[in-house]
Symmetry: D3
Subunit: 317 residues, 6 copies
């Protein structure tokens, strides 16, 4: 049983609209907190979108996600899991980026996660654009490459943009493979769709062994069948889960910068995470939630619902 | 054939954006109207949300639903039913609540419905939050408990909130069972999902015999199979239909106070009502439409489309 | 291989938010342009909504669609088609309507398309309300009646409105049949739903041989089966595709004037077009996108995604 | 003292969000009502925008204005006037236009007002675009030309649009002068501003003797001085007041189709009407409120606040 | 000089969109914090709107105000005051209300403020609807009645609503006078306007000696003259400042439940507070900010700008 | 008289919602156009916001400004100026930035303006964030420092952000002074307000001789008096006008990233430009319009109205 200190505030006691909006109403603790050593899972915000090539906004994601997360209760209705009873969870705050310097920001992020990992805390991140995953992987995979289940409508495997720019939200996993952070044979990308420039990204995927499952295949084979293959691909070794909210159809998640129509619905958005239960998850992120394009907040609420599913499988690890 | 007086105004004659927005462009009649005795089905608004524990707004529901309802035409395209030819329908106006006194408001509502029933009018209600159903049932079931088909993402079977508050939109059906208004063996709840505090509500359901069909079961078994079971549960005895708009996925119905992602789409939202055709329906409600969270009005239009389906099965009774 | 002049500007070179928003970032050419004779497919806007009987707005459609179209890239991810390599495509601008005179506007539209066709350019049109299709068909079918695959939630086969008004967005295809522009035996309407006034429209369809596939049939039989029948109906003869955005469920496409709930999702919205590949398409339109009811722009982005699918099958002709 | 039947429903008794939204919560009466002969002032909606040359929407104005009008109480706080005690006021409903036929619609409007006037009811109209004023004036001024105080950012004195179209919302008062409905020497236009095509409209004004007061003059001389001149111009003879909501700065009234920045604020918007107290007002209108461009409803609330001021000076007549 | 612990986080170091949104980026401290005794001014949220008679929403005010407050920097540009250097300021969190029980909520609020005052902390409150001020005054004025400068468009001096309901946001100051919490001779209300039911409230004001300055007088005499009188009225004795955001024109502050057009602009909204500098302020509140009616957040930003002005005069006390 | 080729398309001929949205419906010409040498004034977009420290978005400004600019007509109603008759004006398109590289983007911008100036074209720029002005000044003032009239709520004179970042939208004019592009004695900043970090910026202004006119002084002295001083400061030598939309009150211009309440209204926003008539203007910009925070488009319409005033004084030069 988790320590009472780590239990979220109940909406039965304090209405959901009251109180400071920490992630899921968990205790807010910075890395110097005197009980930090007791934390098992840390929820972390990375308010940063300098890698965005089109419509910026994910820098505002963590705040909106925290706000929406006050709607989350203690128990997973679908699976019965009570994550806050299984592990001590806490909101570790935001990594402070430098909006005007990509390299400086990446260094700050990697440093923050190094500290988190040094305390044996498993990170669940709220981005930020998808470039956020790269500096996190530099910390998580510094000893050995990891596997990854990647939900997205884009492969994010391009080489560069705008005549040679190497670090954008369209390139993180190309970099991660090149830097030896990901084992491409243990990487699966699910939900890919939309118009493309050319085949550069998928050619790279084929060349290094990344499995790309397009949305047409996803719908045709069915969710359970596809997810079984995904589980096989990553196996029992350490695995990261990276979830771009644009995996979901933009009608369900309009608040994002590079939407592609024709994606999964919100039920499928949750089910794909539940299907990962039992894997050796070492960390996860939910990225690309962009509040300026979602003033009604529906995307953020779906985003935190996905984060709660990720938390539930991480807590059962 | 229905009296011409009771036919809705056609959009072919008066454009839909013109004229006073009564429900479905039906005649507006208060309970003193000299033709009130000819009414078979009364559409009633209950603009009241004092039972809301989180985000208020359903007090504004009836007005927005009436506005959206001017888009409804005379014939059900899917089933061919022409409800206004089968029964005399009218807009009976709103029950005037006391926003600052829950007990007073409930007494006013029950009194209004007592009058409606005394005139042999079958009520179709536009809420209001879900606590609205309780004072209605106090009128409808005052002689004997009734059965209920309940569409919702929440059971609304909690005991109390905020340290003992017994009357909220999370408790109406617990109260209704306790008060002998509902026969729990003839109650089925469909679409339940989302995170929960604990198992208090479902434990109560089990204890008294209410059948709870979660959304995972709904999607796995399929709509027709689940609805067949629902028909068996309520049988041929008098049955109430209570439809919380948050049964539907919040992307389709964002205008509500306690959304839960991962629900049915709009086609399924209509089909579940059509599947109730032939039951012994004695009244129905559509609740929790909250305009402040849906300025575009899509939720209200879906809401009145559901009300039209409810009307069609009531008119064929 | 297409001429480099006709290649769209790449987002890898000029960010998508920069530059003049022509359709899909194609060259903008008026009908006097010195390379007009090289154009194979012309994208044309018809900013006109004088046929609207309820909520106006589609006059603003072409501009919003052009803006959203800057998100479209060069290759169809699902089919691999690269339309701009197959045919020379260009943005031919807007037909200037007379907002205050329906007959004058229809004459202007037909005249514009006569010129386009005289240059052997295949037109892909962005409306405009659905009356737009009538003056286009007057040009396209002036020699012989054509077949049509028609996606919509309404048949648009009514005789007249408001006591005898013959030209509205609810009547274009009745007029087209009467004028001998459509061969009703080669017309199929898919997605019909919603409440109706009566059976006047479907009785006409039956009388002349138009096949109407309601949404219930579409969902029950499945998309592939229905589309196979549609292909059989139109056969190999010249066929027009008319796509009303209200075919799609209004949650996915809220920006339209006469929505009907319970429609296809965005994936199905694209798949129905892909299923037409190989037909003898002579032109297509996407109509009824109404920006005032879709300030977030999701409808327009879905609309241009559909236009891109239409373009891909037209380019493979 | 006014009859109790004609008193608006008080928000102290029935909350403002409840009940049918008639204008200012007055009794709704059609022209056949058995107490119609007792009505002194009739509030009338004209949901029509066929004269709009750019962004349509005012056809939805009357409904939104009625909704917002439920916020209006019984007494004018600034002047102490209680209009409903001075005169019997009622909501006479909407004139049903033909959205597809301008001449037919104008004939319907004039006919409706002829009937209203035949019952000695003074009309206060909610438009509709500004062309609405023309068919009203055809009724009001059929015996003799009237004077007019005209608040607007445009003169609406153009000859024609789009190559000869004579009836648009940019031409009504040119037509009214030509038809002998307005006495141009007794017409004053206040608030004119924005970029213009040329001097055609103001040249016409000068030629016939209409006084045009631009916004720069309005701000420089001050409201009271300008309004004193306006009172002098119209004198004691019968005078119509036509108030285009775009007179007000578009930040205060965004819901309109042809905004011009740099206008009066909301306090001045009310004060200009109060300054007309004591004139011989025979009717008034408030036009060009366009809900699709004002989903938040602020324009409508300002609009009905202006209508209430107009009503107060009409009731003291 | 203030302790560094109490300095707000600078946007030069951590971007404004990052970090937990406490009021003005001050340290968040609950009443048990070990440095609570060092706090001079406490910023407190009261997320409660049970007193609302029309459109609810202010329960969501404190969270949105905190979010917007991250835009506030350390120095008042207009006056040069640096409040965080003058006094130790902290965010003391929210008072947890019971949304379903008005009396219980008022007791909770008074209890919270009793504790705050017992620690010699001066409270600056973010509401909540205007009933919030009553339980605060019960704490602040429990020893002796206080004076009050009250900015509002309504007097909030009504006796009761809905047939006898005594505690609503329209009655707090009537109750406060009756309970001896306010010295009516030292109360001034500024900005009153809008339509009214009758003269009940202003008759009460006259009877007990409250000075009511309507908006017409405010604009005619000018801000400085009116504020000089206000200073004279309250004098040097302990004075509370209660600021209803609906004092400001609703175009500048749309996010509120009972707007009245024709109010001050945002510059005047700040200047009236600056004019109170030097008074004996013992506490202040900013109430009626209602996020559901202001999704863009402009009202909240204006609200926190007003709170910052209030803080600056409190810090100079 | 201007060449007919350079006349904007009239809304009397082609409705404003039709056609490609070039700036003010002028001809669109790239720098290679065969009539480029005839252009006197070039309207240029710089869709770039990499200098933004808080809320990004101005990269989307030029497109929204072009769209709104189709509402501008040919003649200035207030001054009678017809700019398109005085000078040949054209839309020169956008400068393509590199969103991921600030230095590269600045170099591209300066290069573009070097080319423009080499053709004797006077530039009127639509930003972009305020850092945009720096690379423009590097081109305009490469031979000698220029004077500047600067409308803004911020001085943009800070040294650096985030621990040493020198190029942000808060630093351009510090850099410009340091680089010898601006003659500080001929620089005046008008409208400064809001909370500040400290006095670093104004201390710098004093040290180098920049005149800072705060908003309190602006309102107290009055617009004409302040602008007369501004004219004196810049004199008859070459002067640049830089207009940050956040000079205007955020209620009038919500679509911007760093709003400060309490600013000028829209009439004053135009008048300050008119007051510059006759100066030796060599170029101007309108920056910081951020569409994601202004979905209704009011800010963009005000922005282009300001651009039109700038154009009118430039055309009379």
């Amino acid at each position: 049983m988790s320590d009472a200190f780590f239990q979220p505030v109940s909406g039965m006691e304090l209405p959901r609209f009251a109180g400071m909006p920490s992630f899921m109403r968990l205790p807010f603790m910075d890395l110097e907190h005197d009980r930090i050593s007791e934390v098992d899972i840390g929820l972390i915000g990375v308010p940063w979108d300098s890698g965005t090539t089109n419509r910026p906004g994910p820098r505002h994601g963590p705040r909106q996600l925290r706000d929406a997360s006050t709607m989350i209760r203690a128990q997973n209705g679908a699976t019965g899991v009570r994550p806050f009873d299984l592990m001590n969870c806490a909101d570790l705050g935001d990594v402070g980026p430098n909006p005007a310097d990509i390299q400086d920001s990446m260094a700050r992020i990697t440093h923050f996660y190094d500290t988190v990992l040094s305390k044996q805390i498993m990170p669940l991140t709220a981005g930020g654009d998808h470039l956020t995953s790269l500096p996190i992987l530099r910390s998580l995979a510094k000893d050995a490459p990891v596997g990854m289940v990647h939900f997205d409508s884009h492969t994010d495997l391009y080489h560069s943009y705008f005549g040679g720019t190497m670090y954008t939200h369209g390139t993180p996993f190309r970099r991660a493979v090149e830097e030896g952070l990901l084992d491409p044979k243990r990487v699966v990308q699910i939900g890919i769709r939309g118009s493309t420039y050319d085949d550069e990204d998928t050619d790279f995927a084929k060349a290094v062994g990344i499995r790309v499952i397009r949305i047409e295949e996803f719908f045709q084979r069915g969710l359970q069948d596809v997810m079984a293959e995904a589980r096989d691909i990553v196996g029992n070794a350490p695995t990261y889960v990276s979830y771009d909210i644009d995996f979901v159809d933009p009608t369900f998640a309009p608040g994002t910068g590079t939407p592609e129509v024709g994606g999964p619905n919100s039920f499928q958005a949750l089910e794909v995470v539940r299907a990962l239960d039992g894997l050796n998850i070492i960390g996860a992120d939910l990225v690309e939630v962009s509040p300026p394009f979602d003033s009604a907040g529906g995307t953020a609420f779906l985003g935190v619902s996905i984060m709660f599913e990720l938390l539930c499988i991480m807590a059962r690890r």
